[in-house]
């Protein structure tokens, strides 16, 4: 635009003078009895399974009165692929492949929960080095998982920018995962007894380089979203989940901590090396979207600090215990859980002494976190429903299994 054009546009605006009130459409005046007498009805809207902000194939039925939600009901199972059934037909070493694909954003956690259950069942002593490697990779995976949540949560609130930034950092993390385990997503690295191969030397400089830049990057995300005047009103005071509701619906993880209950399995049921590490668990107060957002942001900071502690203190020794090729744990029942990025991820195994589990159940944190939508969404606006569902950080792979 040239200066001349700008001046002409400014003159035109000045010539128009004060704003003229818009005309009321004549159609509305013909309604007998006024607008209040209009016959309205509730509308049932399908959100999903193909919807850009349902994080996969979630399908929510919303009953709407205008923009307001009267009732909500989640319809699941668009990704139900029988992981629990298939696990009954696979040997203990082959099940990790399936569980990787259950929670595909945090594979190390799922593998660890499963391996822990099998180790307790078969009474396998895990070397310290293996536990530390597992914890190190899990904490890095926590950052990667929360980053993906951050990007999609930004998109839910209308911010495209953070998504492109988080992909930069996730690529750095996936390079680390690839160096250590050989795969970008489906690691199958944590196995019953330890880890499948030793922590490689060339991974350490990669992790240190990432951790050195990470705090600066996290501050950048705070600049992009936390202080954003468009973002804040969309999350503050929206989607409030009181502590009693969170407990009643079985919520765990950042959703429970956002509601103000200090429950983190790494602190309350310390597994692996977490009893020896120094870390804090961030807490929210009211349980709105803002609290869940801040809890996850702070968890990423603590995860990086934990990763640095784990990397500095990585003990020497074996990376796996001696485990037979065909594992036949004695008959029995066991439940083991880890604190995954979404909450308490538990594996419940019933063994009958054979080489395949009699029954394997995955306690999916996201399923219980999601079950609260029927309770919380009614009363909010449809645009806020997108943000509230986004703040729960669901992964449909482990919900539907």
């Amino acid at each position: 635009m040239t200066a001349d054009q700008v001046k002409r546009a400014a003159d035109a605006i000045a010539a128009e003078g004060t704003l003229v009130a818009p005309k009321v459409p004549t159609g509305l005046r013909r309604v007998p009895g006024g607008v209040d007498a209009l016959a309205t009805e509730h509308l049932v809207v399908n959100m999903g399974p193909q919807h850009p902000s349902t994080h996969g194939v979630l399908h929510i039925l919303l009953e709407l009165d205008g923009e307001e939600i009267i009732a909500a009901e989640a319809s699941l199972g668009y990704l139900h692929r029988g992981i629990e059934k298939l696990a009954e037909h696979r040997r203990y070493h082959q099940i990790g492949t399936l569980l990787d694909r259950a929670d595909y954003v945090s594979g190390f956690h799922t593998e660890w929960a499963y391996s822990m259950a099998v180790e307790r069942l078969a009474e396998i002593e895990v070397p310290a080095r293996a536990e530390w490697i597992r914890a190190l990779m899990s904490e890095l995976n926590r950052i990667a998982s929360h980053l993906l949540w951050l990007g999609t949560f930004g998109m839910d609130t209308g911010a495209m920018g953070p998504f492109l930034y988080i992909m930069r950092d996730r690529e750095a993390l996936l390079d680390i995962f690839e160096t250590v385990s050989g795969a970008r997503m489906m690691f199958n690295y944590v196995r019953p007894g330890g880890v499948v191969m030793d922590f490689p030397l060339q991974a350490e400089p990669l992790i240190r380089a990432f951790l050195d830049t990470w705090d600066g990057y996290l501050d950048e995300y705070h600049d992009l979203l936390t202080g954003n005047e468009i973002f804040r009103p969309r999350v503050k005071g929206i989607g409030v989940i009181p502590r009693s509701t969170a407990v009643a619906f079985g919520m765990t993880g950042a959703c429970l901590r956002g509601s103000g209950l200090p429950w983190d399995l790494r602190k309350t049921r310390p597994y692996g090396p977490y009893a020896e590490l120094d870390f804090e668990v961030p807490l929210g107060t009211t349980g709105d979207n803002w609290d869940r957002y801040m809890v996850r942001m702070e968890e990423m900071r603590w995860a990086a600090r934990l990763a640095r502690q784990l990397l500095d203190g990585l003990p020497e020794g074996d990376f796996t215990a001696k485990v037979p090729k065909v594992l036949r744990p004695p008959a029995g029942e066991v439940y083991a859980a880890v604190e995954s990025p979404r909450g308490e991820l538990g594996v419940h195994i019933l063994s009958d002494g054979s080489d395949v589990p009699y029954r394997l159940r995955l306690r999916s944190p996201a399923l219980f976190n999601l079950s609260v939508v029927d309770e919380v969404l009614p009363g909010s606006l449809i645009a806020d429903a997108v943000v509230t569902v986004g703040s729960l950080d669901i992964v449909l792979g482990e919900i539907d299994r």
Partner: protein, 166 residues
Amino acid sequence: MALDRLTGENSVLFVRSEQLFDTARRNSLWYLLFGIACCAIEMMHAGGPRFDFDRFGIFHRGTPRQSDVMIVAGTVNKKMAHTVKRLYEQMPNPKWVIAMGACASTGGPFRMYPNVVLGVDQVVPVDVYVPGCPPRPEALQYGFMQLQEKIRSTSEERLAARRDRA
């Protein structure tokens, strides 16, 4: 076709309209933003800054009405199959389907479970299969190059057939 080299000042380019449209089509393959399972994460990475599909004209759209390509990224089960079919029918012609990953191609590691559809080609016609579980973004990129090649060769075949008839 490097159009900028052919079109200097005052130059005129004669081309069959079909060829011109196909060139445009294969260089702006907009895909439907629709991830089913694990492969969707790699699909998102493909759109991210490192692989940057945007530079090939491959970009995501939120609605099937604006899309040319459907990437089926994940396991299709019996409940999902109806939705996939409906989404495919909502897309305007010409349209293509890429089956990304083992699950979309054959059912993958879950094919033994009765609820899983044995490959999305039992529901919609598939143009390109990308193997892997999940395929890396490079593999998906190669799949897109194969799709571009397929669009080019089918249009040339169509023209040759018409020339033969004439």
